[in-house]
């Protein structure tokens, strides 16, 4: 598979994560993105045995353990399967198009111009942030954070492949713990009927 094909896959999957409203399909999209970013980061990490081991642990945490946790939550709480889009389908598609245009403009920023493939990274990161806004089910916040994290991992792979693998491991550990703390809070919020962001409006001003 060529590098360009991988970027095309990343862009399509990130867009689908915003447009789609079924938690399992969105999660599958995240896993596919995480696998692609893992493949892209492999060459930088595999230079030393220690780096390779840390890379493997980070990969298992992000690609296997965190998604299994979310899948387990959705199986236990079938109501969470619907991510409840906060805007109709045409608006969501328009948002994706707007994000594509915005990402293309990133290449013109001073400081970014000389770095490789920044529009793709920007698109994945912006899709992660858009996930937080475009859905009313708070589970989408967690999926958005995972997508956001995948974008940052991709940036690390592209921009600083020599970055110590321990940083990558730290980021993966953070993703994992955030996911499980998030799931614990989600479980309680669900029990209280607070899974919709509209219900989380007690604290204002």
């Amino acid at each position: 598979m060529t590098v360009n094909a991988m970027y095309a896959i990343l862009a399509v999957l990130s867009g689908i994560m915003i447009v789609d409203t079924r938690a399992k399909r969105v999660l599958a999209g995240y896993v596919a993105i995480a696998i692609v970013t893992t493949i892209m980061t492999f060459s930088g990490a595999a230079e030393t045995l220690g780096g390779l081991m840390l890379f493997c642990v980070a990969t298992v945490l992000k690609v296997v353990v965190a998604p299994i946790g979310i899948l387990w939550f959705v199986r236990l709480n079938p109501e969470a399967e619907d991510l409840r889009a906060s805007a109709p389908l045409p608006v969501r598609v328009l948002v994706v198009i707007a994000l594509i245009e915005l990402s293309r403009a990133v290449h013109r920023l001073p400081g970014v111009a000389g770095l490789p493939l920044q529009p793709i990274v920007a698109f994945v990161i912006l899709c992660g942030i858009a996930m937080l806004i475009m859905h009313r089910n708070v589970l989408a916040d967690l999926l958005g954070l995972l997508l956001f994290g995948a974008g940052i991992t991709l940036e690390a792979a592209l921009v600083s492949p020599q970055l110590p693998a321990v940083v990558e491991l730290g980021a993966a550990f953070d993703v994992l713990v955030t996911t499980f703390i998030g799931l614990a809070l989600l479980r309680t919020l669900h029990e209280r009927g607070l899974l919709d962001v509209d219900a989380l409006r007690n604290l204002r001003g």
Partner: protein
């Protein structure tokens, strides 16, 4: 040795949680917390003055929060409505919080510093939602999501910074060490501009700077009082420490002009917005939380103004604010408990111990003499005048005056029961012990807040000037 210093508070909390007998556990907890407070002095030669200064602030206030928390819960406390609302979990998370903040201030690289900042979010998410109330859970959720986005942005900046340092000749293992970066003597680079801006935005989210502050009033007002004190007084200081380190790197790269402008206006807007938002608060802890946004704004404004005086004033403000705000939140907890115990409503400052102490807390935060914030705000104003930063200084001055008015007007009329958390009110049998411990902790914090006003005339003042000279 640094690793031991970092892990010590967490280990201490785990060890004390394993002790079955209640009174022995309580005593052990305080002894181990006291020992952990002394540890930073043992590593004084291994870290620089800035790290040492912040580690001392972290340790003293975490120790006071531990003492305050010792009798926070009722003697027959069986847990709240959620599985993590247990005394043992509370103290273990408090230990983890303490250790993660020490990791932030004792780290030697931006990688470790970032991991420390990320760990503070993870350690405190359950503490914010500790009471199990719907509003507390909402606050914990917002805190987790918004801070995760913020620290993600900071990581993005760190990755870009690594790219710049690697191109400038740093080896991969030291690409993020600030001592190494300072010695690179590389030419200004647009990548460093972008990297440092992203790091300031990311760490600024954790410091609660406007407009990235949305999580802060919720989280700080819904956590138990000692945790609110640490979140506002210490965690925000740790985030500001990360910004100071970022500024240091930008300065060493001779590339800080843009960053100074960003910091100046980031800070000025935070002070002004916080002042306005404080006017409409009806909850004591929420009012104090918005005051944190204001003071974080003053620190960032001072860093933006720059120069030796500006940076030294910013550091002095961080120290004075840490003690003042922690003390004020400790007092807020006492007034809440008194209100819950007596059923009294309305103005408490004329009738109760906590109410009278609240006067001191509000005076400290309002920047009245003899408290340290008076001194630091005066120095910040002098630094801004010296730098001819007139427009942002006017914005900051208006913001500070509005905030002062809101603090006095609202703070003295507020009904503490609005944000009372009955789940953390002690049973009558332990009320006396709880009162002694909490009043002592709050008194020490407020006394230290007053003593910070003499810092400019002491050795610590010279140290601050020396640190500022190193960063500049």
């Amino acid at each position: 040795m640094i690793a031991i210093a970092v892990i010590f508070p967490f280990l201490g909390s785990l060890i004390s949680a394993l002790i079955p007998h209640r009174d022995t556990r309580r005593t052990t907890r305080i002894i181990l917390a006291g020992a952990a407070t002394c540890v930073p002095f043992a590593i004084a030669t291994s870290v620089d003055q800035l790290s040492l200064l912040f580690s001392v602030i972290v340790s003293i206030l975490c120790f006071l929060a531990t003492v305050y928390s010792t009798d926070l819960f009722s003697i027959n406390w069986t847990g709240g409505e959620v599985f993590w609302s247990r005394k043992s979990v509370y103290f273990i998370l408090l230990g983890a919080f303490w250790s993660s903040m020490l990791l932030v201030v004792l780290a030697q690289t931006f990688g470790a510093l970032w991991f420390g900042i990320a760990s503070t979010t993870l350690a405190t998410a359950f503490l914010v939602g500790f009471s199990g109330e719907d509003a507390a859970l909402e606050a914990a959720w917002k805190y987790l999501v918004l801070c995760s986005v913020g620290i993600g942005i900071a990581l993005l900046g760190i990755i870009l910074l690594a790219n710049a340092t690697l191109h400038a000749g740093a080896t991969p293992e030291f690409a993020l060490a600030w001592n190494v970066i300072a010695g690179l003597h590389a030419a200004p680079s647009p990548v460093v501009h972008l990297a440092t801006a992203l790091m300031v935005i990311g760490f600024g989210t954790k410091a609660g700077l406007f407009p990235l502050h949305a999580w802060l009033p919720d989280a700080h007002s819904k956590a138990p009082a000692p945790i609110s004190g640490l979140l506002s007084g210490v965690l925000v200081s740790c985030a500001l420490y990360a910004i100071v380190r970022t500024l240091g790197v930008a300065e060493s790269w001779h590339d800080a002009a843009t960053l100074h402008v960003l910091l100046t206006w980031f800070g000025a807007c935070s002070v002004f917005a916080a002042g306005l938002l404080m006017l409409v608060q009806h909850d004591l802890k929420r009012l104090l939380a918005y005051s944190t946004v204001e003071h974080a704004g003053i620190v960032v404004f001072a860093l933006g103004v720059g120069g030796r005086l500006g940076i030294a004033a910013a550091l002095l403000h961080v120290i004075a604010h840490a003690f003042s705000k922690s003390g004020a939140f400790f007092v807020a907890g006492i007034t809440q408990r008194e209100a819950a115990a007596t059923g009294q409503r309305g103005v408490l400052w004329t009738t109760t111990v906590g109410g009278r102490m609240l006067l001191f807390g509000l005076a400290a935060l309002g920047g009245l003499p003899p408290f340290g914030l008076f001194c630091s705000e005066f120095l910040v104003a002098l630094a801004a005048i010296a730098a001819h930063a007139w427009a942002p200084l006017i914005v900051v001055t208006v913001g500070v005056l509005v905030a002062f008015g809101a603090l006095i007007r609202t703070g003295l009329q507020i009904d503490p029961t609005v944000s009372a958390q009955p789940s953390v009110a002690p049973a009558p049998a332990r009320r006396r012990a709880a009162t002694v411990l909490s009043v002592s902790s709050a008194s020490i914090a407020l006394t230290l807040a007053a003593l910070t006003s003499v810092i400019p005339w002491t050795g610590i003042g010279k140290t601050l000037a020396s640190i500022a000279g190193g960063i500049q």
